[in-house]
Amino acid sequence: MNPEDQESSAVATLDPGPDKVIGPGHDYGSVTDEIGGVVFMPFLKTPRQLFTGFACAFVLVNLLMVAVTWLFVRGVGIWGIVIPVAWGFAIVNFVWWIGIGHAGTLISAILLLLKQDWRTSINRFSEAMTLFAVACAGMFPILHLGRPWLAYWLLPYPNTMWLWPQPRSPLIWDVFAVSTYATVSFIFWFTGLIPDFATMRDKAGNSLAQKIFGTLAMGWRGSAKHWARYQKAYLLLAGLSTPLVVSVHSVVSFDFAVAILPGWHTTIFPPYFVAGAIYSGFAMVLTLAIPVRRWYHLEDLITMRHIECMAKVMLGTGLIVAYGYAMEAFMAWYSGGIYERYAFVNRMWAGGYWWTYWVLILCNIAIPQLLWSRRVRMSVPAVFMIALVVNVGMWLERFVIVVTSLTRDFVPSSWGMYYPTIWDWSTYLGTIGVFLSLMFLFVRGLPAISIFEMREVVHHEAEPVHAHGD
């Protein structure tokens, strides 16, 4: 460790309140140490909650292993899916996870372009979250196949059959969209990490850590020329990811919008899926950021300002989603088509799942309205609870869209019901376990906040002129 560690440890970790993005008395060194310190914290000093949290998550991971093994042994029949409801939890979870995965890139890219100063201390964190969420999402399209071992047939590769994927199918669009999104998110995340790897390299106590971080840093030395190209590339990435993030959930929504099924076949899906994605994404960032900042005492870096801003975004996107629901229902009535109309009658009260619809309205629309009140936004526990509720609500939204629409479509004779089995639940919980495990490992092993960008913040805070300049 460098001698500087002592001098900076004096900085108090107090939340500076809703107008500041960083606590008082921070300099370049102190932010470096506070964030880097987490990584080099002795193993046993790791916050207890982290151990317990990881333990629980890991149990769920094993549950997933069991569920998947049984799935491969027996077939998708172990799930509750039937004809007509041929898509169940797998697709619901897929859409849910992808949606959660949207916050990261949005924060890093769009807020970067919008020059939002409050993005800085949460972007790294939410990018990682994006990666892990997309990883969880990515599992489902493969798991839900009747013959998962043939999943590679969805890729365009030369083969002895002279056969290729069918690019008119939204599922192939998904393949391209999701893989692109995963790749780009990773690149984005890694690029952001390079300078911090350099910091870790130079901060590392032992030579192994030096070698590891040194390799990852690729010899980054903070040259002005490098910074110049680096910032250009980073800006371009942001510029490209912005339409990408919008496109990805639009494409996911095409899975439904392109189909003819009443309740799926809607032009409003792309915008309202994207809004919903951001909605759930921010909810998940809050769900994770609030405990982590507490455990690691990072209140001075992830301040009330961050939390309030995210709460506001949630409120805003939540309203867009509400508008989406309203339009859907209105169009169903206004279209005059009996199938379309019935789909909503079924969704709201006729069908077996009417209650899921109303719970979803409660979670996604009613409860978040509390965020209008500044007092609620200022209360960390309240925001945390609302974020949780929204996560549930967004999952239910996908359930209502996927399952309820399928239960009753055109020909009444083939209407049916869907009852999730224990294996549906295990797989779902399992992926939550995977997600959390990865998250816990990340916040322990890598700088969870972008250090070099924090230094910029310090710099701007120091000179208000620059803070609002550029």
Binding site: T160, W162, L163, K211, G214, G219
Partner: protein
């Protein structure tokens, strides 16, 4: 601060990158080679048989017509495999005590069938019909090769879908006059295939069938 990495590590780093790229390409190539090789395709791999039957001997030397043994090739999806009876119709007179023919005689005595290893074997979800192909002027040797020159029989084509489709898309490249279908030594006479092909296709009303259900049901 001391250097963490030696001077050489710069070049090492760049070499590693190149190496990884090359390795990736190499693996792809290897996979392709393995898939296209006869280990996978079985092409040109003579199968062991309980009776080392030689088409070369029976077709070239004895001049037996394909249909003498493969009786149903013109009428049925299945070309037909000769019953022991057929073998014995000759071998009750000639080579009556050749050791290699003992399994044949044994089968004829005991009434227990001879067992042959399939050389040309399609997956069970592929439905191939010999009769329509020979009736439309596709010769035996087009798919089975110069069987008349095989001491032990082997595949000359992969029988992969892309190979089938290749002909189904351009039958004119392979069709021959009906009277030549069973001539293993058939060579396209002048005028060359490009000229007679289209004519025969028209004459035999050959369609280019590439629908899935042509072969898969």
């Amino acid at each position: 601060m001391a250097q963490i990495f030696p001077r050489s590590s710069n070049s090492l780093a760049k070499i590693t990158i190149v190496a990884v790229l090359l390795a990736g390409g190499g693996i792809l190539w290897a996979a392709y080679a393995l898939n296209a090789g006869s280990f996978t395709t079985g092409v040109e791999v003579a199968r062991d048989q309980n009776v080392p039957f030689s088409h070369k001997h029976h077709v070239s030397d004895d001049g037996i017509d394909c249909r003498y043994c493969h009786t149903s090739v013109e009428t049925s999806s299945f070309a037909g495999l000769p019953p022991t009876e057929t073998c014995m119709s000759c071998h009750s007179q000639i080579w009556t005590n050749a050791a290699m023919l003992e399994p044949v005689r044994e089968s004829f005595r005991s009434g227990k069938s001879l067992e042959w290893t399939r050389v040309h074997d399609l997956p069970d979800f592929v439905y191939f019909n010999h009769s329509i192909h020979v009736n439309k002027g596709i010769g035996c040797s087009t798919c089975h090769g110069r069987v008349d020159q095989m001491p032990l029989t082997f595949k000359v084509n992969t029988l992969y879908m892309q190979w089938c489709v290749g002909c189904h898309r351009n039958p004119e490249k392979y069709v021959r006059p009906r009277d030549q279908v069973f001539n293993p030594a058939y060579e396209t006479p002048a005028p060359n295939q490009d000229e007679i092909g289209p004519k025969l296709v028209a004459q035999y009303k050959i369609q280019s069938l590439t629908d899935c259900v042509t072969c898969h049901r």
